[in-house]
Symmetry: C2
Subunit: 353 residues, 2 copies
């Protein structure tokens, strides 16, 4: 599949309700790896050595065949809209999308595996799974890592572990990120519980696009900040425990809201449905917040015309890159609100009749 | 009809689209009159002289038969909710509803005529007509006044004219009030035009319940402040001219908005419809503002499921007294938002399918 076609074929896994899918969107594992004997990407002097090295990485990926059905793309060979699509799908990072120099990505058509080249590190292995699935995602990432290791001479130090461009990744090179939907805690004004629980054990709470992205509304990413001095399993254990606790908090608040403020919650959810069915202009942030309310409504069984997976999909499809790709043309920022509103009306009208 | 039944039979004229009905809700004429030889109501000592005098006024009204089909009610004989209903229907003033002492009202079943006793003055004659209809309303008020004069010895001074409790009403005792719907001017941020035009010729701009009531949102009442030193026709001429000018302003802005900001206006109107169809809690002020947007939408032909008259009716039916009377019981202020939302959903759902 060409990246340009992504918008027409939403990630197959988005519609799947994974474990704890009422509260957890997805689990993402990332391993940072580098190749022995080469400077880190930021120090690979342009253009020749970097270009040559990128081609070599692509070649190794092809030979190692770490998974079926992987296709490699050089980012500079893609249009800006295609890079934006890949980023909105979480197949590449914002850094890779907006960076320059030779760099690339290969991803599987199921979109659960992607490997970036010449991002901050030479290689970034990424596995995404729907819902809360740290063990499965980690196992798959390690399997890919093992296969790559057969071909690629990793920069590894017996004392430190895997060497990385940024010291915060040295050691395991592992980042576990769990994307959570916490509208109950936001409504109940208890988000401080999340920040406290996470920071006590050294986890970060970020927005949906990771480092540097704001936590907008009720979608947050919980991820580990330390990679050194502990095993992959120890890191997973800490994240698993905190996420389980936050899932409990969120479910508890939702139950409490149902019992104590049912009319207020129903009002919030149904108004959102009303606006989604009728509005002619919907901005990006408002769209996320309306869809978030409906997603909550479905999980609370207050709204039944759509499923949680449909909402996960809409949260992606209403982003600027997807909107433009769906309409098959560039749309000025001014006009996107109208296009987004039309898409939302079509979806919500269709379901309501 | 007992006042308690008002809620079940909305004013017949409310549904009628009068002249300039897209911008003008109604025209109201009020004449203040007093009886020679009696102190003004505020000085009628309780209880006997006031009670006796109120009975005499009621008797005169019965004998004079100023119009067909008038029924007289002593306000103290009515329940609080009935007084509230009469006020929300503009058949009595807030002052009469909330006052005490013997006082009353007679009104026709068509609800276009009402006569209050022992309000600020002994008699307040009122005629309401849908839309902009100053001449017709004034003619009807004068006809009633003439009939009353055959039985009631008015307090009249050859130099000053009709004598009234408050000096601002001396002379003609006439107040002309035109209730206008100006959402275009509010949206276009041009309400200062209205205030300027009105104040230049000594007219007042008030909220929908007259003196002391705030101009909430886009419903305002334009009325004369001076009653002395000019004829009824001269006063009417000034109000007629300014109202015509404001009608032109409002229509001009609506046309301009359609041409220049169609998407923004459609968005505002359709969102309002969306919320009215789905919300579970709607406060009194929000209700007025949502219904106002839909009324605008109908007049701009952007929404066609209801007619302007239906909206005029809903603006009255969603007020606290009407809500309680429709449900046939007292409803705590806390619960009214839910009852109001249910009523609105029923109306807007029924029309949308």
């Amino acid at each position: 599949m060409r990246p340009a076609d992504l918008a027409l074929h939403p990630s197959p896994w988005l519609k799947t309700l994974g474990p704890c899918g009422d509260v957890v969107f997805s689990t993402r594992i990332r391993l940072a790896r580098n190749v022995e004997g080469y400077p880190f990407p930021a120090r690979l002097k342009e253009p020749d050595p970097r270009r040559e090295f990128e081609a070599r990485l692509a070649g190794w990926l092809g030979e190692a065949r770490p998974a079926e059905d992987l296709h490699y793309w050089n980012l500079d060979g893609l249009k800006p809209i295609e890079r934006l699509l890949l980023m909105e799908r979480h197949l590449i990072s914002r850094e890779l999308a907006q960076g320059d120099g030779d760099r690339g990505v290969c991803f599987s058509s199921a979109e659960q595996i992607s490997i970036m080249t010449n991002e901050e590190d030479h290689l970034r292995i990424q596995v995404i799974r729907p819902g809360l699935a740290i063990d499965e995602a980690l196992a798959m990432a390690i399997e890919i890592d093992r296969k790559l290791e057969t071909r690629i001479p990793y920069a590894f130090d017996d004392q430190l572990g895997y060497l990385t461009a940024c010291p915060t990744n040295v050691g395991t090179g592992l980042r576990i990120s769990v994307m959570m939907h916490l509208p109950g805690l936001v409504l109940g004004e208890q988000m401080d519980k999340v920040f406290n629980a996470a920071s006590r054990v050294g986890l970060a709470v970020r927005g949906s696009h990771g480092e540097g992205s704001k936590a907008v509304g009720d979608v947050v990413q919980i991820s580990n900040q330390h990679t050194l001095g502990r095993t992959e399993e120890e890191i997973a254990e800490v994240v698993r425990a905190i996420v389980a606790k936050i899932v409990d908090y969120e479910r508890g608040v939702r139950q409490h809201l149902l019992e104590e403020s049912r009319a207020r919650v129903e009002d919030k959810i149904w108004r959102s449905v009303g606006v989604l069915r009728t509005a002619r202009l919907v901005g990006s942030e408002e769209s996320q917040s309306l869809l978030s309310a409906v997603r909550l409504g479905i999980s609370m069984k207050l709204y039944g015309d759509l499923r949680i997976g449909d909402l996960n999909e809409l949260l992606v499809l209403t982003q600027p890159g997807h909107l433009q790709a769906i309409r098959g043309k560039e749309i000025r920022a001014d006009d996107r609100d109208a296009v987004r509103a039309t898409l939302l009306r079509e979806r919500f009208k269709a379901e309501s009749n």
